[in-house]
């Protein structure tokens, strides 16, 4: 099913299954071993991790 784009003023909700996969793949961390805030901080850092791995 196609994802609906968030309308103005609406934050796209986090897909936690996808988040759990990213945390495991990039950081080697398990979502169930983190608090929500810890997970959010790691996820927020992902764009920077991608940039660093590309040598940017």
């Amino acid at each position: 099913m196609a994802r609906r784009a968030p309308v103005e003023g609406e934050r796209e909700s986090v897909d936690w299954l996808e988040a759990a996969c990213l945390l495991r793949a990039v950081y080697g961390l398990e979502l169930h071993g983190l608090t929500t805030f810890q997970a959010m901080v790691y996820l927020a850092g992902l764009p920077r991790v991608v940039a660093l791995t590309r040598g940017l």
Binding site: G9, L31, H32, L34, T35, T36, F37, Q38, A39, V41
Partner: protein, 133 residues
């Protein structure tokens, strides 16, 4: 300069929140729960309190902004907090049983806390305002 100090304080509070800080309320110590436990506690509160559980699981400032965006009657944070405390008092024993499941404290121990302290404990367990200090 003031901006720099503000940024430093924010970084400091982020680092502190990342360490699952201990919060002592009424002589009992609470740390933020892990992800799955937080969702389980949220579900438990929703089953117990119905749709008004958001008063405990979401930041009150967010609820105020949401009301403003919807253009209806706006309750300020003080009123919303008072409503949340009233909910906790109404469902007292069952809320204590739920919290006992998630904290390791007994219902009797948790029963010594005031409604305000219980509210703060739930907020801390769920990291509703993780940077509030």
């Amino acid at each position: 300069m003031a901006k720099r100090v503000g940024a430093d304080a924010l970084v400091e509070s982020c680092v502190e929140a990342l360490g699952r800080p201990e919060r002592v309320l009424g002589g009992l110590s609470f740390r933020p729960l892990l992800f799955g436990e937080q969702r389980a506690l949220e579900r438990g509160l929703q089953e117990l309190l119905g749709e008004e559980a958001f008063l405990l699981t979401m930041p009150l400032s967010f609820t105020v902004r949401l009301q403003q965006a919807q253009g209806g009657v706006v309750m300020d944070e003080g009123l919303l907090r008072a409503r949340a405390l009233a909910l906790l008092r109404t469902h007292g024993e069952r809320v204590l049983e739920l919290l006992a499941l998630h904290t390791g404290y007994s219902v009797e121990q948790l029963g010594q806390l005031t409604a305000g302290e219980l509210y703060e404990a739930v907020q801390h367990l769920l990291e509703v305002n993780p940077l509030a200090g």
